[in-house]
Structure formats: structure tokens, C-alpha cells
Symmetry: D3
Subunit: 253 residues, 6 copies
């Protein structure tokens, strides 16, 4: 069965979707090391949603590329060339606007996804404000990295998972990109780097320099593979599928 991407649809095709779940993905334009493109944080959730749309009556809405500012602790920060963001207030308003306009068309079930931790608070606020006005709508926000089972991580990392904080442009994201969009991964540019685990530190503005490795990879991308990506993807899709079944009382097609 085909992906149900709205960006490829005509309006009569959309009209047939009727009372589906609407999945909106918000990404970021953020450095992801010398081997991955800026748009990793959109590709991953978007590809997950595409796979969900094969199994469920779910529409993948046109995505949003720009997200909130990158923090050094989780994405390398604003200092890398090309990392480009919008204000938190704009992000809240944009997500609320989009939900509102799908609601106007009769949509009531929403899946919000992002591959960018920094978007989380703003997407949640947008959803709160939206459902405060429309209590008959429901929004589920699922962060893919929170949905990988610990047992899986133990297997993938041989029990040495360094923590999600440093998994930016590292093993998991690289593997998922190898699976989803191999043509965008430059495996030959993966540096022989071994980062450190995250040590909590204060947030400082203006952003200090030198907080992250010069490559932009927070830990290490060595060992990433298409197979790891495939395994993770299948598990995440299955987990979110179960969440959708529970929260929206839907069944697989």
C-alpha cells in the first residue's frame, strides 16, 4: 500500500481520506555532522509517519522544515554554519494555526511528531492552546527517541548506550537515515570520533563556543548501518501504531 502523503495528493484524493488521523511533522534546519544533511530532524519523523500511513487510516500532512533554535546540549547549538531557526512564539502560532485549519475541515485526530528535542515545549503549548479551544479534538505528540525500547538499545549498543542527549548525528540518527534516505548519507565522511557522555551544565546566553565536538557529532556515528536503522524504524512504527490504536481507538487497515 502506498504512503498517504498530502504533498503528492490532489484535492479529490484528500477528500476521500475523510475522518483520518492527521500527522504533522515539524523538523529543524540544524547541522548533523559532516555526513548527514540539515533536515535529519524532519526526515526521521516524516518517514515514520509515511510508514504509519501504510498501516493506518492516516494522512501525512505537508511538513514544516524550520523549528526552534538548536541547543548546544542536544543539537550542537546555533554556532554551526547553516543552523537556522524560528522564534518559539512563531513556532507555537504556526503549529496552532495548522491544527486549527485542519480542524475547520473536520479533522479531530492529530499526531504531532518532531525529530528535534528543542521543538517539544512549543509544540506542546500549541496543542494545549488548540485543544483548549476545541476540546473535541485530540493531539498525540510522540518523540521517536523516547519510544525505542531499552532492551533494543542494549542490543544495538552492546549495553553501552551513551544516552539520548549525545545521540545527535550519532549512531541512531545515522542508522535511521541510512535506512530512510541512503542517498543523503555520506558514510565516507564519518569521522573516527568518540564523544563523551553528557554532563549536565547550565544553559548560557549568548551561547559559548566550543561546547561540542568540531564535527557537530555529539558522540559517534561509527557502526551505524542500514540494518540498525531498519530494526529501529520497525520497532518505532509498531510502538506508535499501538499508541494510535489506544488513543484514537482505530485498527490497522
Amino acid at each position: 500500500m502506498a504512503y498517504k502523503e498530502m504533498i503528492h495528493m490532489t484535492w479529490p484524493e484528500y477528500a476521500e481520506m475523510d475522518d483520518c488521523i492527521t500527522a504533522l511533522c515539524v523538523g529543524s534546519v540544524e547541522q548533523h555532522g559532516p555526513h548527514l544533511p540539515f533536515i535529519v530532524d524532519l526526515v526521521i519523523p516524516y518517514e515514520i509517519c509515511c510508514r504509519l500511513s501504510e498501516k493506518y487510516h492516516l494522512l501525512v500532512a505537508p511538513p514544516v522544515y524550520y523549528g526552534y533554535r538548536s541547543q548546544p546540549a542536544s543539537g550542537g547549538g546555533q554556532g554551526f554554519p547553516g543552523t537556522t531557526a524560528i522564534d518559539g512564539i512563531t513556532l507555537i502560532n504556526m503549529v496552532e494555526n495548522i491544527l486549527e485549519d485542519f480542524y475547520r475541515q473536520g479533522k479531530r485526530k492529530f499526531l504531532l511528531m518532531s525529530g528535534h528535542f528543542e521543538n517539544t515545549a512549543y509544540m506542546s503549548e500549541a496543542s494545549y492552546l488548540f485543544t483548549r479551544n476545541h476540546p473535541d479534538a485530540k493531539v498525540v505528540i510522540a518523540n521517536w527517541w523516547e519510544l525505542v525500547k531499552e532492551t533494543t538499545l542494549d542490543i544495538l549498543f552492546d549495553g553501552a548506550f551513551p544516552g539520548w542527549e549525545v545521540e545527535h548525528a550519532s549512531l541512531t540518527e545515522t542508522s535511521l537515515m541510512m535506512y530512510y534516505r541512503p542517498e543523503l548519507v555520506h558514510s565516507d565522511r564519518i569521522p573516527d570520533q568518540q564523544g563523551k557522555k553528557f554532563t549536565p551544565r547550565p544553559v548560557i546566553h549568548p551561547e559559548p563556543k566550543g561546547l561540542v565536538p568540531a564535527s557537530g557529532i555529539l558522540y559517534s556515528a561509527n557502526g551505524a548501518s542500514h540494518e540498525i536503522g531498519k530494526t529501529m524504524s520497525e520497532e518505532i512504527v509498531e510502538t506508535i501504531g499501538t499508541i494510535l490504536e489506544t488513543e484514537f481507538q482505530v485498527s490497522p487497515l
Copy 2:
């Protein structure tokens, strides 16, 4: 030479672009008849910018899918299933934010494009506010439909060009899409329709029903072809190239 799409770049590749023109495209999620996808208004300017990036030192920034509300007079209006928009205020803020964050990285030359007439006022306001704060930056906003020569239109339409107001999902957009993204055009679904020329009428809220043909095509898509699209595209790219040379004092590569 390859397109310089930021969505496919890594940060070191971006870093090499340095003092380039930055091209930002804003689209719309708007019905375009039974034969074209919702994202026509993004595809056309984005493909134009990609071609410009072959000839000039120009970066194609990640695009924005969602734009301002569709008006019945120029896009079919909000009543068609799937037409989805953001508020004018949000659009102003988003475009200003993106320009601002590229400016932080040293960019000073911007090309703003949209395939959606309704975005124009908001994109212009964003650019005004941005350059008021940063008078050393320059923003050029080019609407492709204003840049096709009248002589070309006469040839394409045998002297019967019905006016841009009704060219929504009609001959020109269909031809350009056939050239740019043929896999997204359903030629077999083009209805045998002949619309009417636009008659000015008041704008009414809430939007009245029945103002546009049921297909969503305002005039007619009959006769559209890959060749017409190619001819138009080449002319538009050349015209905007000349504008860039004049306004930013750049030369072709």
C-alpha cells in the same frame, strides 16, 4: 552543475557557500484541480530557484509549505477539501524570523519567491520589517507570473490569454508542473472545462460558496504541455537571473 539545495547539504557544504544569494520559497497548501497536487505553489518557485542555483552563486534554502489563506478570486478559496493555511501574522513573523537567522550567519542578499499570490503582502511586510532593522541587507521578491513576457503569452495562448487571475490550476501552472514534476500531474483527470475570465467582485467573509468551478480549475488546463512548461521556465529563469545580476551585482557562474 548541481542544484544547491540546502535540504540536501551538510553543514561543511553550506559553509563553503559563504556570501551567496539565499533563496527562500514560500508555498501554499491549496487545491489545484483534480490533476495537480496541493503543493504547486511551492514546486514552481522552488524549481525555478534550483535552476537559478545552477547558474548563480545562490543557495536554495529549505522551503515553507504553508502559506496564507486561499482567496476564491485567485485560488479557489478555503472551501475546497485540503486547502490549509496559516494566519497572515504568523506568516509575517515566520518569514522575518528566517531572514533574521540567515542574517545572523552573514547572509545579506535574499531572493524571496512564492507561487501563491495571497502570500505577497505578508512576505513583503516581513521583508520591510527585516530590512528596517538591517538596512545592509537586501530582499528581492519576484512573482514568477509577473515575469512572463506578454509576447510569450500571446504565442502560448494564440493571443487569447485570459489573465493571470484565472490561471489557477490552468494552462500555465499545469505546463510548468508537467515540466518540473511530471509524476505529480494526472493529465488524464484534466476536465474538458472552459472557465470564464475574471470579473472583479467584492471580497466577502464568510466566503460564499460556488464562486469557482467545481473542479477547482479557474479557467482551463487543456492544451498544457511539457514543452510550454519548458519554454516558460527558461524564460522566467533568464528574467530573474537578469534581475539578480542587476540588484545584487553578481555574474553568472
Copy 3:
């Protein structure tokens, strides 16, 4: 019968108007050549509404002088001394506030008029947001220059109408001002100027200099007369009257 201008009314007089159409005019403070005052874009729609208030149960609300920024392509731009504007966001909020507060008082039928093209998008957005909250209200936005019949233009211009884009401070506006407020027209200062038809060009920020004739008249005011103004005014008033009858199902008094 007298004009029903709210600025001249006491509250008991207003109270008698009850379920009338409420007409709100938004102007601009924008240069209009060496012979016309800054407020042409308010005078014209306001005088039209006054004449409508003689024929229909219609209240002319206190007008708004300041509008959105002048664009070089349609009004000479911001570079002329005295051209003074408010932000697009402020204009949206102000119009929405005023509609909202008349709604609180029971008004449901609104005519919005402006003599300034650049206001259009913001007035429409305000009306959209207002009627989204209050679907039992209806707003009609009528631009006078879109309502002059082509046959009339042919007669007035001997078939040489140059297009509305360049009719700023030119023949039609000058004629209407001669009819409405002759004491504000300095006929002796009308330069012997013949402008050019409009050629589409990109919008550029910061605004370039020298895009329009030094006089501020985009085409030519030669030949303007009180009679032409009277003819146009009567036709516009009649056309809008018909629109009001259709949209609000009202009859002339």
C-alpha cells in the same frame, strides 16, 4: 436626505439606526502628487459611503486615516515626504477590534472600503478572523476601482485606459476629488506629465529610489474634471448599492 455620518451623530441618533449596514472606511496617509492631499484614499471611499447612506439604511462609521505602507508600484512608495503608515499586524488588529466592538452592539452587516490597494490583504485577514469568531456576521469588502465598468473607462479614456496600477493621483482620483472635495484640489499644480504604463517588476526592500515620477503622479492627471468624477461616483455608488442589496438582502429607502 442627509448623510448618516456617525462622527456627526449623538448617541440617541445612533441608537435609532438599529440593524443597519455599518460602513467602515480605511484610508492611507500617502502622497498624491503636488495637487492632491494626503488623504485621497480615505476621502473617496468615505464620500462613496456617505452617498450610499442617503439611499440605504447604512451608517458611516468614523473612518481610519492611517493604513498600510505605500508600495512604489501602486502609490509612490514610502520615500515621499509625509507618506506615513502603520504595520500590517496593527492594521489587522485595529480593523478586527472595530468590527468586534460594533458586533458587541448588535451590528451584523458590514461594508469595508478603502481607497488604498495596499490595505486590501490586511483588511481581508481582519474580516476573516472576525467572521471566523462570528459566523453570523457578514463583511463585504469593495474596492471602488474594481467596480468601474470597462465601458465607462473606455469612454472616459477614449479607449486608452492605462491600467489601474498607474492611476495613482492620476485622472480618476483627481476627478473624483474634484467632485467630492474641490477645495482640496490644486488644479493649477497639475504637471504636464505623461507617465508610462506599469511594467511588472520585483518588489525590493529597502525600497529603491527613482521608481516613480518625481511628481508622485504615476501616470497623468491632465484632463481630470468634476464631470468625470461625478459620472464615476454615480456609477460606483449604484454598483455598490446593487451589491449591498444582493449580499444583505436590503432595499433602497
Copy 4:
């Protein structure tokens, strides 16, 4: 010498004003009893500014009709038919926008006036925000009712001045209107009413009914005259003139 009203000027006339004081008046659309029009709170400051423009190098900018909501304690409240207002936030933004755009044109000296007490806080905030961004500009906000000498009030009221709180639509406003715009005063409709002095009371939302006399006059308009208006006007103009001389270091023409 003539009034220097920008609403009657052409742009070359404005250009000659150069480094003048710019006077902006904000009114209200607020009931003023059965004998006065809605726009009293604009007419009074505007006419004061016109007279100041005869004596000083001062430009009277196009005024703003709509102001902040009427409070029962000072204007009768929102309950009277026709009393129409904009939000406080909109008022702040509008005034700041206008100041900002005159500043862009080189203006640095501003006189802000309003005849509506309720506008005061918002006009002051707009001026604060404006001068925070532009410390080389100066804004003087003068409320006419604070500038009438106590000795004058004693003479006018025979020592029985009831306090400005109840002077809404009463003796002073009526007299000033009789002097400035006698054609808008319906003396024959002045009720034989004697209001009470103001007793402080809590502000309550939603606004309670019956807080003010049914006429909308808070105290009494009996005894108002053209002569009283003239005397007050001359004194106020003289006092503000002295303020302008001190604050802007200007001299009378």
C-alpha cells in the same frame, strides 16, 4: 495664519515643514450626551493643536478617531449605543507605529494629545517604547483638562467645580464644542440635569448597568456657552504653547 493640518496638505507642502513639532491627536468614539457628537474627545485636542499650529512651527498630523474603551467612571462606559473602541494593545501598537514612521521621516519632536482620559496609559506606553528605541526623540503628552488653571475653574464654576471626573459631556466639554464646532452642538437637547460629584467605586467587569445618568452627561451641561469655551481654549493654547517652548526650545512664529 492658517492651520497646518496635514489632512489638507500635499506632499510638497509637508516637505516644507521640515523640522517641526508633529502633533498627533487620538480621540474616542464615545457617547457625549444627547447634545454632543461621538467625536468630542478628538475635536477638542485637534482644535487645540490647530490653534497651536498658527503660533508655532507645528504640524497637525492626521488624527485617530478610535481610542480605548470608555469607563463608566469617566465616560459613561461601554453600555451606551455607539460607544466603540479598540483594544489597549492595539492602541499601544498603533501610536508607536505612527511615531516610528514620522521618525523615519526625520521628525523628533512630538506632541501627543487626547481628549479621552482612558487613552492616557496606552499613549504613554507607546511613547515610552518609542523613545526607548529612539532616545533622540521627545514626546510630550498633554491632557487639556489638566491644564486649565484652578483660578479659571473657580471663575467659570463660581467656586463649585465638581471635579473633572464628572465633567464628561458637561459644562467644559460642551462649552469648548460650542466654540470649536457649534454646528455639532444641539443646545436644545441639553437636559435639565444636575449630576452628582464622583464617588470612588471599584471597577467591575462585566460593566454594571445604571452607574451613570441615563442621558450620558455625568454632571450638567447647563450654563455652557461659546464664551466659556473661548476663554478656556485660549488659556489652554497658551499653556501648552509655553510647555512646547520649554520642552522643545522653540519660539512662537
Copy 5:
């Protein structure tokens, strides 16, 4: 009976309050002479509300320290070290948000208090917007200084009350602080100062220097005492109690 301060409560204690009046106090961080702390404008209304909570079924919500900018005419202005404020727009939104979130929990009766004149307009606008959305809620805004009887002032001041305008950090505030929070009053630092009565003057931005006495006391704190504070407090609490009984139809406990 104990004060019902929410800042000291657990959630089960709050839950028992149920359908109470909710009192929200907004202060200011504003100089109050060499003898009083910055937070006088919060302490006074908060202590009043605590006393009201002994007598009525009234909850004292967590207070807000920061208020709107100090004006020279009523608080010494922004020029004194430490006087720190938030924007008017932020104050409107904050108060509206808090009211809204208590409303969500079922609260419908609100008492808003402030000891800072400059907050008044913004608190009223917040309440207006809140009750416009929720007409079944009621907000009473009581300024303590408007509720002291004139006869009391005559006794306290021997008939020489200088007017509330200059009572900043002066006799009444000092006395109330001596009664409420004696440990925060430095009586030994009260200067031997005799201020002048207020003379109305224009508001000027940027704020001029030297408008108020160097101490920050606008009139005089000499003669302040715990007893005067106690007398005033008891009278104010009684007066507001009566207002609550009337407006919310409640009885003392």
C-alpha cells in the same frame, strides 16, 4: 481564624475552598523612599486581602511582584535605582492568563487588587478581555486609596490631606507598612521633608530628571504611625468587605 494564603497551602487544602472569591494582588518593584522597601505596592493590597480572607470565604492567590512602569507623577518614575517593571502588554496578558487558569478550575468570583496606580489600566483591560470571553465570571478591582473615607483623611491629616497623587512613600503608605510589616520600615531614615502638592504637568518621554524630591518620597512621611496604619487598614477592609457582600452576594463567615 487564619489567613487563607495559597502560597502556604497544599492542594487538598485548596480543594476545600471550592467556590470561594479568588483575590489576586499585583504589585510593583518601585522605590518607596529611603525607609520603605521596593514591594510596598504589593504588601499593602496583599495584607488587606489576607485580612479579608479571615472574614470571608476568600482565597489569596499567589501574588505578582512586577507591575507596570512607575510614573514620576505618582511613584517617582523609572529613574530611581531598582525601580523595575514589565511592559503594559505583558501585564495585560499575565493577568488575563491567571484569571483564565483559575476559571478553568471553576472560579468565577475575582477580587483584583494593586497598590500601584500605574497598574490600573492594564489590570482593567485584562479583566475586560477575560470577562468578554467568560461573561459568567465577575471581576472587582478595588484600589485601596480610593476607599479611605474623606472624613478619615480629614482626621488623619488635620484637614490638610495633600492629595493621593503625592502620597507615594508618604504618610499613608508608611503608616500601613508600620502596621503590616514593621520590620521592613526604617523609621530612622525618614527624612525631614515637606513635599509640595501635585501640580498637573505633561507626561514626557524620555522621562525628565529632577521631577521628584531626591528622597523618592513625594510628600512627607513624618507623623506616620502604626496606629494610623491600623485605623486605615480596618476601615479599608471593612469597606471592601461591604463591596464583596454586594457584588458577590456573600456573607461574612
Copy 6:
């Protein structure tokens, strides 16, 4: 040495602080179980800052009680009686306003603290926007729970630290409150509860019921003590002190 709390200072005392670090604490009004008050998230950072003000040239600014909405995953959510919040946009604006107004007075070094995880994103955005405008200022945001050493947690919890996610109203917060404000802790009401470790789950709006234990304690408060609180407090104060020394290049007094 005494705490340097601005809420207890007069303006001359503040003036002597001059070029100090300014510490601003933002709390939340959020349920903290049956044994702790709503204001735990303010008390903890505020008391930490007070202790820092004994050792460093640091001013404790008046705090902010209201913060962002409680999330079920970290604070019990909005469903508990009394949990009261402001919008994310308001929180951004308020924090930025306060920083801005201290900057106006010459402050350049800021410590921002909160005891409420949900505030983090908004406080960071406010600081970003503030320092973007004022790059000569520096803001350090320190979350106390990120600064307790793992070795300490091992000792305190006998190696069974359940993770900070469930430490809401649990052992650490209860211990710190017992140390800081014992009079506000109702030890006798601590339920014999043993919560579960946190399992990541999607964020859902409207907020589902029953996600957290009925007590509002996410894990367990059993075993909390004044001594544990003292140990943690001393360690946190020392750690933040070191951060201040590094970031602001200051020395202990």
C-alpha cells in the same frame, strides 16, 4: 552575612549593589502532594539564591510565582486543584521584560533559576532574545536538579535513585523544603507510597486523567529529612558558586 533580597531592600541599599550578579527566580503554582505547598518550585531556587547572595556579590531579585503549565510527566499536570499557570508566550515576554529593565539600570550578569522543569524552554528563549539585543549581557540558567552529583544521589538513595522525572514532591524536594521552610512541610501527611519509575509516553492534549498517583507525589517522599536537604543544598550552592566564578569571573566575598 545577610541575604541580599531585593524585596526587603530600600532603593539606597539597592544602589550600593552596583555591578552585582542579578538572580531572578521563576517558580510555578503547582501541586506538590498533600504535604508540600504549591510554591515549592519557587522556594527551592529562591533559597539557593539567598545562600549564594551570602557568598557572592549577588542580588536576589523579586521572584515570579507563576510559571508554565505543569506536565503530567514531571509535575502531575494541570488536573490537580490549584495548579495554575500562564501561557508560554507570556512567560517569555515577562522574563525578557524583567531582564531588559535590569539591563536599563546597568546590570549585565544574570542568574536565572527555576525549580520547575516546564519553565526551562521559555526562560531560555527569553534569555536568547534578550542577549541577541544586548550581546554585552550574559545569562546563566541553572537547574538545581541537574547539579546534584551522581555520587551524592547514590549515597542519598542507596544507589536506587529513581530518576529526576519522578522526583516531583518526592524525596529530594521534600528534604530541601524541610531544610528551607520546615513550617510549610506537613510530614504527617506524607503517604506511604511507592511510585514507579518513569516510562516515556506520548504527550496528549487534552491531558488524560489518571496518569499520576492520586496523591500528586510521583515517586515517594518517605525518608526525606532536614539533613538530606541540608546536604543537597550545600552541594548545589557550592556547585553554582563555582559556575558563577567561572562564567562571570567573580570571587567569593
